[in-house]
């Protein structure tokens, strides 16, 4: 265990250094996480103001501001991109060298994921404040909601990372299936409550979202952090569902990883 931790720490240090070397590039990626919620906030706030009662799907303009402000943070901290990357690692043969190391490749992916988030903080945190200053969100979160919300955010990030990694294993069979990452991301966008708060979704889409894990990655932590989740019981139940999804995905990953490795034939040298 100690050995794994030490190796992980080394991965993380190297990851942060690499990220800082490419700071211009990673900032360009991080900007998308700011622009997308900001654009959607503008759209929903103007939808709310076009209605006679100045709300849409039960959100006022200020509540949309709060939702998208929190979602901006959640979206950044729960970001994961392995569903895009695995095919590339396999095609270029980089996975082979990762497999030779005495640590599962997933640990490097986790370290890189955390490194990206650490390295971009200096840039995104001021941007979050600027956004909040411009749009004036209406918060009504109590302390318990912020506390449980922070836990929900961590769970959401773990769930998105693990499910993305699980889905990426498809690349072991179909190396050129780059569309996989796009589909995964698109589902998170719609069914995770990023394009619109879940209450705003048309009924059939809402029910699909209710059955899938995506809403527990983004929508649930955001609603909790902005103070929309009314009772402690509701919040704790949500955390339990998140935990159940995480355990399920990890179990599935263990099985699928073993099968995938048996199937693995290296590409290139």
């Amino acid at each position: 265990m100690m050995r794994v931790l030490r190796a992980f720490a080394a991965y993380h240090r190297a990851g942060v250094q690499t990220m800082f070397q490419y700071r211009a590039e990673i900032v360009l990626w991080a900007i998308w996480g700011l622009v997308n919620p900001a654009v959607l906030y503008a759209m929903w706030s103007s939808a709310a103001e076009s209605n006679p009662d100045h709300t849409a799907a039960g959100f006022s303009r200020g509540e949309f501001a709060a939702y998208y402000f929190v979602l901006m943070i959640v979206g950044h901290l729960a970001a994961a991109w392995d569903a895009y990357e695995m095919g590339y690692l396999i095609r270029t043969g980089q996975l082979s060298s990762l497999l030779l190391r005495p640590l599962l490749p997933i640990w490097k992916a986790i370290a890189d994921n955390l490194s990206y988030k650490v390295a971009t903080l200096l840039f995104v945190v001021p941007m979050w404040f600027v956004f909040a200053w411009v749009v004036r969100p209406e918060f009504k979160a109590a302390w318990w909601q912020l506390g449980l919300g922070a836990v929900a955010l961590v769970f959401g990030a773990i769930l998105n990372f693990m499910l993305g990694y699980l889905v990426s294993l498809v690349a072991f069979w179909a190396t050129k299936l780059d569309a996989m990452g796009e589909v995964y991301f698109g589902l998170g966008m719609f069914l995770g409550g990023r394009f619109a708060p879940l209450e705003a979704l048309p009924r059939p889409v809402y029910w699909i979202a209710a059955c899938l894990p995506f809403r527990w990655m983004f929508a649930f932590p955001s609603e909790l952090l902005m103070g929309r989740t009314a009772t402690v019981a509701e919040a704790v139940a949500g955390l339990a569902i998140q935990a159940a999804w995480i355990l399920g995905v990890i179990a599935a990953f263990k099985v699928c990883w073993a099968v995938a490795l048996k199937h693995y034939t290296a590409v290139s040298g």
Partner: protein
């Protein structure tokens, strides 16, 4: 002129032959185009389930806008993206020498070398959605506005091309920024919706500083010919902006070329 067209056709033919080798991928990509469009339509459905209008834009207006967005995005990914990515790579690796040695205008040649043929699916689907929106609103596609619409689309496409050429030219100085195209996509994201949803100062910026309004909102507005949404002089202005940007980007490209010394040995 004839030689230029022949060259374009030649590169297009090679691109078609290249893609024909990967038929399964092409089918997958076409399915992805349909899914993409489906997602955007679910988006429109979601918006108008919760409101009657977005500052005066209703379902048919938004369908036209979605169509325009897909046409432009598809066109960009079909022709501009692959060529400009090759420019980034060529500048970094020093292989731009091969382009400069050819007896053709270098800017022209780097802009036509590669086409991602299956992206035409996006353009066709986008056009179909725009037509549906227009028919829902007016009962027909009026020929006059449709002609102006095509001119506006061409102008919008020229603006995008000029911006990408400027970004690619920047690589002569900043060799390592391969992700520079993210700048474009981040801004383009704001063009999914009519610019009236933004605050006045953002609208002003998106019209006069970053001419995004000319690329999606204005062409859509011209098609349904509502002068409250789009000022009358817009088409003229669009062509003007396009011409100015094309000239600037051409000058900048030539200026950048003087900086290029070939990276290879």
């Amino acid at each position: 002129m004839i030689r230029a067209i022949k060259l374009i056709l030649l590169f297009a033919r090679v691109s078609v032959q290249n893609i024909a080798a990967y038929r399964f991928e092409m089918i997958m990509r076409s399915i992805m185009s349909v899914l993409h469009l489906g997602a955007e339509l679910v988006g429109v459905w979601t918006i108008f389930k919760n409101t009657q209008s977005l500052q005066g834009w209703g379902v048919p207006h938004m369908l036209v806008l979605v169509g325009v967005y897909r046409i432009i995005a598809g066109g960009i990914r079909m022709s501009i993206v692959p060529n400009m990515r090759r420019v980034f790579d060529d500048i970094r690796d020093g292989t731009l020498d091969f382009v400069l040695l050819k007896p053709v205008n270098s800017q022209f040649l780097v802009s036509i070398r590669e086409f991602i043929v299956w992206r035409i699916a996006d353009v066709i689907l986008g056009a179909a959605v725009a037509v549906v929106g227009c028919v829902m609103l007016l009962g027909r596609v009026p020929p006059g506005p449709a002609a102006v619409f095509v001119v506006m689309l061409a102008a919008g496409f020229a603006i995008v091309y000029a911006v990408w050429l400027i970004l690619a030219t920047l690589c002569f100085w900043f060799v390592r920024i391969q992700n520079i195209e993210m700048i474009f996509w981040n801004v383009f994201e704001a063009g999914r919706f009519p610019i009236v949803i933004y605050r006045p100062w953002v609208q002003w910026v998106l019209t006069f500083i970053v001419p995004l309004a000319f690329i999606t909102t204005f062409p859509a507005g011209v098609l349904f010919g509502d002068s409250t949404m789009v000022p009358r002089a817009t088409p003229l202005l669009a062509v003007l902006v396009a011409v100015v940007l094309l000239v600037i980007s051409n000058r900048f490209w030539r200026f950048g070329l003087r900086h290029y010394s070939g990276a290879s040995g």
